[in-house]
């Protein structure tokens, strides 16, 4: 992990208010694993003050770039969306722990909701290269918020979409699609990233079907490296073992995750 000075190679809108930034980042590109993230300083002027944590969405090892995909929904992403080609920024990474690989030959199902899709794309493309069958389920509010086919295609052999208003794919929630997958030729491993409520629902469905599930969690984050102890997630205490104490009630998403076994997370609000 280093604080790499990276250059913006491209930064384009790929869906409604969704942007893809390609960053020349040879150190991070050579090391980032699916599920890991970077923490980017979008402004050196102090506004916004904190960095923006973003999952790695794709890498090109030979060219030395990484891609991050983000939704313009706050002050940091707003500044980043206006950052042009050639601009240099500090980018801390790779951070956190990535996805744990499925057993050999496993059928995998990746579930992404809204801005939770990016880590699934990197993970799906790696799984595909390793010859795992990958089904990608994508949920979004509407057609405009869905990523284009060409971004999803490298990540899965089967892509299924759901949108809240039915404007693209199946009308309803991405969890409806997962329910169908679990009822049929069920996957051996599920990987999920999206809004908290969606991940809670996915974790519950997987638990009922006894399918292992890993979730990539999100929480408001400052440092990204474990020093501020801000991005807390409540963990199941009974699975902490004898060493468990009140101190371990909350994990730090940035260093203990962001990927967790769904059974370790205490989902009740």
């Amino acid at each position: 992990m280093i604080d790499e000075q990276v250059e913006v190679l491209a930064n384009d809108e790929v869906a409604e208010e969704f942007y893809m930034a390609r960053l020349q980042a040879p150190y991070i590109a050579a090391r980032a694993k699916p599920g890991q993230f970077v923490n980017i300083q979008v402004s050196t002027g102090g506004a916004p003050l904190l960095r923006i944590p973003l999952s790695v969405c794709a890498i090109d090892l030979d060219a030395g770039w990484i891609e991050v995909l983000y939704e313009n929904l706050g002050p940091k992403s707003e500044v980043l969306s206006r950052t042009g080609r050639g601009v240099s920024m500090a980018c801390l990474g790779p951070l956190g722990n990535g996805f744990a690989p499925p057993p050999a030959g496993a059928r995998t199902c990746l579930v992404g909701g809204g801005i939770g899709v990016p880590p699934m794309l990197y993970w799906g493309s790696v799984l595909q290269r390793q010859n795992y069958p990958v089904t990608l389920l994508v949920g979004a509010r509407n057609k405009g918020k869905h990523l284009p086919d060409e971004l999803l295609a490298p990540a899965a052999s089967v892509v299924r979409r759901a949108s809240d208003d039915g404007s693209l794919g199946q009308a309803g929630l991405v969890t409806d699609l997962l329910q169908e997958e679990l009822a049929g030729d069920a996957p051996h491993a599920v990987y999920c990233c999206g809004p908290h409520g969606m991940m809670r629902a996915v974790a519950a469905l997987c638990r009922e079907s006894a399918v292992p599930c890993q979730v990539s969690l999100e929480e408001y984050m400052a440092c990204g490296i474990g020093i501020c102890v801000g991005c807390a997630v409540e963990l199941q205490q009974d699975e902490q073992g004898a060493a468990g104490s009140d101190y371990t009630r909350y994990g730090r998403i940035c260093v203990d995750g962001p990927v967790f076994d769904a059974r370790r997370v205490k989902w009740e609000d």
């Binding site: 992990m1 280093i2 604080d3 300083q41 102090g46 506004a47 916004p48 003050l49 904190l50 960095r51 002050p75 500090a90 801390l92 929480e219 408001y220 984050m221 400052a222 440092c223 490296i225 474990g226 020093i227 501020c228 102890v229 801000g230 991005c231 807390a232 997630v233 409540e234 104490s245 009140d246 101190y247 371990t248 009630r249 909350y250 260093v255």
Partner: protein, 303 residues
Amino acid sequence: MADLKVDFAGVPLQNPVLLASGTCNYGQELLPLTDFSRLGGLVTKTITPEPRGGNPPQRIIETAGGMLNAIGLQNPGLEDFVGEKWAFLAGLQTQVVVNIAGFSVDEFALTAARLEELPGIAALEVNISCPNVEAGGDNFATRPETAAAVIAAVKRNSRRPIIAKLTPNVTDITEIARAVVDAGADAVSLINTLVGMAIDVNSQRPILGNITGGLSGPAVKPVALAMVWKVAQAVSVPIMGIGGIATARDALEFIIAGASAVQVGTANFVNPNAGVEVVDGIQAHCDEHGIDQLASLVGSLQT
């Protein structure tokens, strides 16, 4: 080359820049990203006698020019610190100040006594001012009597220099500063965070799980600076200046206002090497301006 050395209440510092409590955890995470041997020191995240889980999320939110936090003193507890965390800290080539807190005067005293067993601790910073935990409905640093009672008890149980960390959330911080110095504090550090809050207008709910939090970052610097200047005139012990320091210029302002040393806090979350860059900047400033001894700048404010 200007001499940046400082004697801070008997603790020799190679330069006046430390990392602030709660912004560098117990050091380990920063090891790949900064060079501790270049710093004056670090102040550990607060240790309480028992382990603490901390507050429910959301714990942080950025606000204009700063951030709110309500971590709630999540820490592994005194015994884990002594048995596990200290071994790493003891190996760092920098001064380590251990920050302690408790929920009663006895807890502070007990913690200080136990830490006597660890040679190598440079000083204790006594956190009587965390805004994010309840201690009898009030924190100790908001009243001179309770602040003094804690410091006196810690002083009785420790031979190390005692630094009292003060809160800005009071009517007159000089009154508290005088009280802790009278009770035996060898130094004071200020300021801890300012109580603040943020609200989600759509849900009409507080953004932080703890409802209120502590404001830090550049936004609080002018407040901190004024308090350091006032306290510098009220007490004769050394002052550790804290509050929104991100650059050498910020640090120099505190030093000129009367701080003998400074702590870099929130800036570490933005730039994990901020402390070392502040040191380099102070060195450059002194060299450019023909300042031979940084110590000569302390409290040099011309009014």
